[in-house]
């Protein structure tokens, strides 16, 4: 087996495949990256950890059919460091030799016959623009839980109804919901999938860079059971096992009526929150006092360091004092793709909602909503 590929193309493909390799493989062979030149002359790089699989297909300049397995981490480090010249990869006996310009590496080969076969791609369900998909996933995944003791909250829920996809995630303290349009294979498709948040975010981000369309494939279209989801775009495909679809009934938790709203200039408000948050210790709140035309931001209390800042804002409604975890607030503001964010509130203990500033023209719900639960100040 042998092939020749341009260094940039190879380095990018190897790096992407290596992302899905397990950091601590349960069996040694899973630390390997599988490289195959098919009879038709295509080069396939793949990685798998029984949960997530990744495969890149590319056209080498030259190739000779065959398959091998080498340490994925090492191959990624080597290809990243190679000079910008064509790379030759040749298997000789029990070793693989990588040559590029004047550099030459010899790698031991791992037993490819022990490597598990990658799951087949499930049937295609529909397509969406990779840039739209990447930004939508990014907006939602930010609210997914990071605590592995509550696996149900580490996922992003994907609900498909016809040409609408709704993504939602919550860690109990905030909830992000994004709706987007896509092109389903079947106009009447209806499906629900719970996708591991981190895997989805990684996949969407990597595919967003290609600018092509992302094809989404679901193993149990129409059902709600366990299964698998696949994403493919521009020669890359990744599959991941789905989580238990259990999820809070979040739609009823999204308030629709408020007693106050503030339109916040995102840039200067984020700066102000970051400044006062310097004195807010872990999990302590930033307090916001909204009144006509301005908001007072405060953090710290008692004998501790304190900070205060006043910012003009467009405010309407009853004066309100409300406190938030500054990290949650900043992550929500960071997910708003507009210069003005609208914060809608009811009372200091009821959920508040952040949206992009301009309300939808048809008066409907905005595409993206970021619900944030306040911090109650005293018992």
């Amino acid at each position: 087996m042998m092939f020749r590929v341009d260094r940039d193309v190879l380095a990018e493909a190897v790096a992407w495949t290596a992302r899905s390799l397990p950091a601590r493989p349960s069996v040694p062979v899973l630390a390997g990256m599988r490289l195959e030149v098919t009879e038709s002359g295509q080069l396939k790089l793949s990685g798998f950890d029984y949960e997530v699989s990744a495969e890149v297909t590319l056209e080498p300049q030259t190739g000779e059919a065959g398959v091998t397995l080498v340490s994925g981490k090492l191959l990624a480090e080597i290809t990243r460091a190679l000079p910008a010249q064509p790379v030759d990869f040749v298997v000789e006996g029990a070793r693989a030799i990588v040559t590029c310009g004047s550099a030459r590496f010899t790698l031991p080969i791992m037993p490819v016959e022990d490597y598990p076969s990658l799951p087949a791609m499930p049937p295609a369900a529909g397509k969406v623009g990779s840039d739209v998909f990447a930004s939508a996933v990014g907006q939602v995944a930010v609210a997914a839980g990071k605590d592995d003791t509550l696996p149900m909250l580490t996922g992003v829920r994907m609900e498909i109804e016809g040409d609408t996809v709704t993504l939602a995630a919550t860690d109990r303290y905030r909830l992000a919901v994004r709706e987007l349009k896509w092109q389903p294979e079947q106009a009447d498709i209806s499906a629900i999938a719970m996708i591991p948040g981190k895997t989805l975010a990684d996949a969407a981000k990597a595919m967003g860079a290609t600018g092509a369309e992302v094809e989404i494939a679901l193993s149990s279209v129409g059902g709600t059971g366990e299964g698998m989801i696949g994403f493919s775009s521009a020669g890359r495909r990744t599959t991941t096992r789905l989580l238990d679809p259990e999820f809070p009934k979040y739609r009823s938790l999204l308030p629709t009526e408020f007693s106050a709203r503030a339109d916040l200039p995102v840039g200067s408000f984020v700066e102000a929150v970051k400044r006062v948050a310097l004195v807010a210790e872990r999990n302590t709140p930033v307090r916001l006092a909204f009144r006509d035309g301005e908001v007072v931001l405060e953090a710290g209390s008692g004998d501790e360091a304190q900070a205060v800042e006043v910012l003009p804002v467009d405010f309407e409604g009853d004066d309100i004092n409300i406190a938030f975890n500054h990290q949650f607030l900043l992550e929500g503001l960071g997910a708003i793709d507009s210069d003005v964010a609208r914060l809608q509130m009811t009372t200091s203990t009821k959920p508040a909602i952040l949206t992009g500033g301009k309300p939808a023209e048809d008066g409907g719900a905005p595409d993206y909503r970021y619900l944030i639960m306040p911090i109650r100040l005293s018992n």
């Binding site: 003791t149 303290y173 809070p248 008692g302 975890n325 203990t349 959920p351 109650r376």
Partner: protein, 412 residues
């Protein structure tokens, strides 16, 4: 305890010069036992032991008459009974001691705000600021002893010295019902004949290490070069003991020394391997710990579960929560997780314990609300339980699984 009580009384008369001796250590004499004797005057002068009489009970307190037989606190009840078969055993009645303790501490607070309670039956006082108002330290010490005896019918012993640890040693020496002043100029004379075990921080291990160096008395310790002690005992401990041996102790009386942790544990009458019963016990302990957190105005972030197997090997597992809590249901949920993850779910256990650390004041505590949370949840329910308990007594409201079974189910 016993090891340290075997110190010889200093023979020499130290005098009563209390100049510069503003630290008082007040220690109730056989506290629980003395409180019980108030209601059982017929037992005065007899050996009395307070503690659960069952096979697994331990001695919580014993009168001096019982101590003469070698009985001391923390001793297994079975052993105490063998040592002193004629002793009267009284099961403890917790609430009573807490109440007396609280009222005795109130007397201290009338004298000075500089009170550092170190247990329910002992406290340090710094009376430097009370001199003008109430007189010399020795006078204040005598007054405390009189008031405690007159108002509560129990005796206490008071050590008066210039440092905390000497004051504590002094009170141990004049027990029971005594008062001892160690004048600042006589500290070394007082300390040096004592065995090293008398020093605060010298446990059995340290005592053995010192014995290997031929160091038996505090005087021996004082004459040993600091570097030798540091080398043998570690840097901090070595330096600390060298300072103590010369009577140097920089620790101040710190009022309201904050609780470092609050916990409760239960030793089963017979070992238990049924996870349902273990979890029920974890609930009971969580309720107790949470009630004490709320009573003290604390919230805590780290939950620790202690599990002791039948062979006494003990396992501790802890988890730090995202937010501090004083809610029993949150402690209980965490305790159950820790128990499930311990791998001891079907192992016979002798003891289980629940403890909360990383305490902070509840009034400064803020609480991140969570999605779909009810306006009033467990927190509010448990606060209502506290109010009911204050009005009608403890345990009037309990989680249903902790209610005692009806009479006919009690002995299946």
């Amino acid at each position: 305890m016993s090891r340290k009580q075997q110190v010889p009384r200093p023979g020499s008369d130290l005098g009563d010069d209390d100049t510069g001796c503003s630290i008082l250590h007040v220690d109730m004499d056989a506290f629980f036992a003395s409180v019980e004797l108030r209601e059982r005057p017929e037992l005065a002068g007899m050996p009395v032991i307070i503690g659960a009489p069952g096979a697994r009970g331990v001695v919580l307190s014993a009168t001096y008459e019982a101590r003469r037989f070698g009985v001391h606190s923390a001793m297994p009840m079975t052993r105490a009974r063998r040592l002193c078969p004629q002793a009267v055993i009284i099961p403890p009645s917790r609430g009573k001691y807490t109440e007396v303790s609280r009222r005795v501490m109130e007397i201290f607070h009338e004298i000075t705000p500089e009170v550092e309670p170190i247990a329910s039956d002992e406290a340090f006082l710094d009376v430097a600021g009370a001199r003008k108002r109430l007189g010399r330290p020795a006078v204040i010490a005598a007054m405390i002893r009189e008031r405690v005896a007159a108002e509560h019918g129990i005796t206490c012993s008071v050590g008066v010295a210039s440092t905390k640890f000497v004051a504590k040693l002094a009170s141990q020496h004049c027990k029971p019902d005594g008062l001892l002043v160690v004048p600042a100029a006589k500290v070394v004379e007082f300390l040096h004949p004592l065995p090293v075990a008398a020093l605060w921080g010298v446990g059995e291990r340290t005592e053995q290490s010192l014995a290997r160096l031929g160091i038996r008395t505090v005087g021996d310790l004082a004459e040993t070069p600091v570097d030798t002690l540091r080398h043998e005992l570690g840097h901090a401990v070595g330096a600390h003991l060298a300072a103590l041996a010369w009577g140097r102790d920089e620790r101040r009386v710190t009022p309201h020394a904050p609780d470092k942790s609050i916990g409760a544990e239960e030793t089963f009458v017979t070992d238990v391997d049924d996870p349902i019963r273990i979890r029920r016990e974890l609930l009971r302990l969580s309720e107790r710990v949470a009630a004490r957190l709320r009573e003290g105005g604390h919230v805590g972030r780290t939950v620790i579960v202690k599990l002791r197997r039948a062979d006494f090997t003990t396992l501790s597992r802890s988890r730090t929560l995202r937010d501090p809590t004083d809610v029993a249901q949150e402690l209980y949920a965490t305790a159950c997780d820790l128990y499930a993850a311990s791998g001891l779910e079907n192992t016979a256990l002798r003891l289980v314990g629940v403890r909360v650390e990383s305490l902070s004041p509840a009034d400064g505590a803020v609480r991140q609300l969570s999605l779909g949370e009810r306006e009033s949840g467990w927190r509010e329910a448990e606060r209502a339980m506290d109010r009911a308990a204050r009005r009608f007594g403890r345990d009037v409201v309990l989680p249903a699984s902790l209610m005692p079974p009806p009479f006919d189910e009690m002995d299946p």
